[in-house]
Amino acid sequence: MIIVNNIKREWRKGMTVQSLVDEKKYSFIVELNGKLIRKSEYDNCFVNDGDTIFILYSISGG
């Protein structure tokens, strides 16, 4: 189980930050267990079971 933006979800083996970022069209800030992850690291940054992730998705409304 991992927590993405305060919501619990299933963990899959081989999950990367990139795969979570790709779920929405605009996302640009990622914190993995409170640590800021650079864009260039998304692909190689694996998400482990129990991790807490924050992704800032840009979503319409204002």
Binding site: K25, Y26, L36, L56, S58, I59, G61, G62
Partner: protein
């Protein structure tokens, strides 16, 4: 002999005279008296550096008294910090129009307003505008509203679309920047460019506010200089429109964050 301030003007303290006697002498019709920001019901003596505001109930006080009312309400130290502050606001929709009016009421010195659009009838369900503003530029309409609320807030307007080439020109003067745009792509472009071009500026953005209810999931999160207000998930879509209360909560949360940044630095 010590001085105190009455309605923004420095006056010598008359020895032996009480607060009520002094007010009666200077503002004979005043029936609302604030001493250092608080309503006074019991007479007392004035001390050096006290701030007194005396107005007549129901009467519009002259311009100079407005500012002393703000000082009385917010305390001189907070008022001074807000008065010298410059805040840039990108977008004047449900978020931006509400942030601008809230900050003007709080006594911010200068606002930079950037929006290319005009007021449409469809805006009235959540934005600060009135029917008579329909067809006016939003920058002009917000300026007009602020002029009626706090004429001391200076306004610089840009009626232009924001792009990566004009961002730093419009916003580099601001001490704090507010992202109040509507489309996901524009919001992302703006935030990324502020973080890149003006990395030392705090930016307060609004993300996720569509629909109604769900009060408990609206929050604020800080990542470096980026402050994110909203629920982070509620996107505008079919069956989930933007409504005044939830957009207003996020907008006021943004304005609240701006004030904290300005006062506490």
């Amino acid at each position: 002999m010590g001085k105190f301030t009455l309605n923004g003007q420095e006056i010598l303290i008359s020895p032996g005279k009480t607060l009520f006697q002094t007010v009666l002498q200077n503002k004979p019709h005043a029936d609302i008296i604030l001493l250092n920001g608080f309503h006074v019901e019991q007479d007392c003596y004035i001390e050096e550096h006290d701030t007194v505001v005396a107005i007549k109930s129901g009467e519009v006080p002259p311009k100079e008294v407005f500012e002393s009312l703000l000082i009385a309400r917010h305390t001189p130290d907070i008022h001074r910090k807000l008065k010298k502050a410059i805040v840039g606001i990108a977008g004047l929709g449900g978020l931006g129009s509400t942030v601008a009016v809230a900050l003007a009421r709080a006594g911010i010195g200068k606002l930079i307003l950037v929006d290319y659009d005009i007021v449409e009838p469809t805006n009235l369900n959540r934005q600060q505008y009135f029917i008579e503003h329909t067809g006016k530029y939003k920058t002009d309409a917000v300026s007009e509203i602020i002029g009626k609320v706090n004429p001391y807030t200076k306004i610089i307007s840009h009626k232009e679309k924001i792009n990566e080439d004009n961002i730093s020109e419009f916003f580099e003067q601001g001490h704090v920047i507010v992202e109040a745009l509507d489309k996901a792509a524009t919001k992302a472009m703006f935030i990324e460019n502020i973080l890149d071009q003006l990395p030392e500026k705090p930016i307060v953005c609004g993300m996720g506010m569509a629909g109604y209810g769900r009060n408990t999931i609206i929050s604020m999160r800080q990542v470096g200089n980026l402050y994110i207000c909203g629920d982070g998930v509620s996107e505008v879509g079919l069956g989930q429109g933007l409504m005044a209360p939830r957009v207003g909560i996020v907008a006021n949360m943004q304005a609240n964050q701006v004030i904290e940044l300005l006062v506490e630095g």
